[in-house]
Amino acid sequence: MAAREKQTSQVNEFNQAFKPVSLWADAWKRLRKNRFALVSLWVVAFYILISLAAPLLTSLGIIYDYKGQIMAHANLPPSMLSAGEVTIIKIEARIALLEKQLEENGTKESAGGYSASTGFDFGSPAASSEEVAPPPEGAGEVLEEGVEAGEPQVSDARDFTMGFGDPIQTEIDQKKEDLAKMMKEININPIHRRVYLLGTDDLGRDMVARIIAGGRISIMIGLVGTLTAVFIGIIVGAIAGYMGGYIDNLLMRFVDIMYGLPYMLIVIIIMAMIGEKARGSFVILFVAIALVSWLTIARVVRGQIISLKNSEFVEAARSMGASTPRIIFRHLLPNTLGVIIVFSTLLMPGFIMNESFLSFLGLGVSAPDASWGTLVNEGVRGMEVRTWQLLGPAISMTIFLFCMNFLGDGLRDALDPQSKNRT
């Protein structure tokens, strides 16, 4: 008891009390001073918490099921009002617009300005309509097998039946029918009481739920991938660094060559080559991305080990008869832990970026699962009119990556007192 007490309040030669500070406590203190990093830490923790709790929250009904498609609720903008009300507003707005156009048409002859875009459109009138105008050719679409990217994908076929009865009037009538139906349903079907805070996508799925689900997958990929890469990197780096000699040379040659390869290209090729079914498997995704991420960690760990290898405490351990693996794992690695942690926090956002990059190209996670990458991909398609479908996932993802980067920076400053960014 007495020994422990002495430890907490030591006294120096001038009889001043002071607390001995361990490396971690010191680092934590420094981290706390960095407000940006601290805020980032809470944000990241929040994201992770929500991701973990997502299935629970869904079953409790707090968030909606991200897979459930409700066509009646397709493409609703974000709103605090209930879904039913929003749908009604939407239909009414459409009717009003159509009626206005009908009026204008009565005084003009032309059938409006739908120009099939071959180039780009500076402010095509189609942009003002509620229904989406086909986005600039080929922009951001999932590249489908066998289809030439670039063939116009007209998702809403307009009826060019000029002279057969005004298409606008037909639509007005149909919309009024929908409106009437909706007003009846709204009181019966509880589903219309849902509130979609961030809107819905084109299959009527709640954006909030999708973003959370997407985040769950992206974060999980990031986490597991980073851990895998770090694990491999540590082992390779430690062995190379400690053993030295030709093992070191061999391993580092290997690392150099892999470093020089345009790996992203190869990953793209791999993912593209694999058939649709296999692509759905996360394992392949992990493997593909992790393939190269471990390189930097290996190099860093090796560097640290080499510089520590010859330090005195290692000699002391060796003189006491410690065996090689013991030295590596119990003595050297804990000292490199700081550096490893810093690199890991910076590796993870990179991982997520790579995965979402692949998903954006259509080569990553496949439906019905979503990751942030796929969400952004879908969002881009309608971004001019349904901006929320792009901004929701884009901003969520950006905030997370931003905070992870800040956190990584903060950790680096906290763990390395000589860091260049400090005064």
Binding site: A139, E148, L261, I266, I269, A272, M273, G373, T398, L401
Partner: protein, 308 residues
């Protein structure tokens, strides 16, 4: 110095070789052939097709034949676009991609270094905080988020820049958005890198000596600090260019730039073997040459290497 060059050039060859070989076998190994997506053809026609593309020969023989062709710079006919050769397709798209890539790199370096210098000299003042935040944003936001958002903003809402396409259709302005998008993460990284590097040099012993000699701070910075501090940026140019090459694939898709990036992924999905290989070879060549150039430039700038 000459030996240094020669050694670097020679090291290109194994890398290229590995890439080509790796890609070749990867592609062939993948399930599904180049014609599996076609409308089903009769067995006789299929046999002829295979013969025409030498696919009836054993794999190794195809490989050797291909290597030979590559050395003659004949990248073969496209499997998909029947009446065009890969060479033609690449010739059409490559200049565009190169123009985009180089512009993006130049932007990234120029702006990045500028911002880095400003924020290092005004450390911890508001200019620094703004610069660092912008830099972190740049590193955190993926290309395919920035691109569409810029497009949304400048092209669709504000309508001051074209949404896409290339110079031939829309004039010089068409390069602005794609180049900015592509350069953004690298500009951010370079800004951070140069800032950290300059700060470190400012603390070094030889800068202390310079100050002790009575030199003005501006002279110290320009004459003594910059040269050493910017070396890490030069080293980074290699990986930066590599990233730009990869990023161009996405940017070209978003902004409909007729380069070789956009069809690259498509060709992988279509199993257009020759086109993929052609693209891979061209990309690798570019990367490897770029890295070599960077090494050479670095060798010139750092006297410790030149005079070894």
């Amino acid at each position: 110095m000459a030996r240094y060059f020669i050694r670097r050039v020679l090291s290109l060859i194994p890398t290229l070789f590995i890439i080509v070989t790796l890609s070749f076998f990867l592609i062939r190994v993948a399930p599904g052939g180049p014609f599996s997506r076609e409308r089903t053809v009769s067995a006789a026609i299929m046999e002829n097709l295979l013969k025409r593309y030498h696919m009836d020969e054993p794999l190794i023989k195809q490989y050797v034949r291909y290597l030979g062709d590559v050395l003659k710079w004949d990248l073969g006919p496209s499997f998909r676009y029947k009446d065009q050769s890969v060479n033609e397709l690449i010739d059409a798209g490559l200049p565009v991609s190169m123009a985009l890539g180089i512009t993006a790199l130049a932007l990234a370096v120029f702006l990045g270094v500028l911002v880095g210098i400003i924020s290092a000299l005004k450390q911890n003042k508001w200019q620094d905080y703004v610069a660092v935040s912008v830099a972190v944003v740049g590193i955190s936001v993926p290309l395919f988020v920035i691109g569409p958002i810029l497009q949304l903003f400048f092209a669709m809402k504000l309508k001051i820049l074209p949404v896409g396409q290339w110079i031939s259709t829309n004039g010089l302005q068409a390069i602005i958005l794609p180049a900015i998008t592509l350069s953004f993460p690298y500009f951010a990284y370079i800004a951070r890198l140069s800032r950290a590097s300059i700060l470190e040099v400012l603390r070094s012993d030889y800068v202390r000596t310079a100050r002790a000699k009575g030199l003005k701070e501006s002279v110290v910075v320009v004459k003594h600090v910059l040269k050493g501090a910017l070396l890490p940026v030069v080293t980074y140019l290699g990986p930066a260019f590599s990233g730009i090459v990869v990023g161009s694939i996405v940017v070209e898709s978003i902004f409909i730039v007729p380069g070789i990036g956009k069809p690259f992924v498509q060709s992988a999905i279509n199993r257009d073997y020759t086109l993929i290989m052609g693209d891979v070879i061209v990309y690798s060549l570019i990367l490897v040459v770029a890295n070599l150039l960077v090494d050479i430039i670095y060798g010139f700038l750092d006297p410790r290497i030149s005079y070894k």
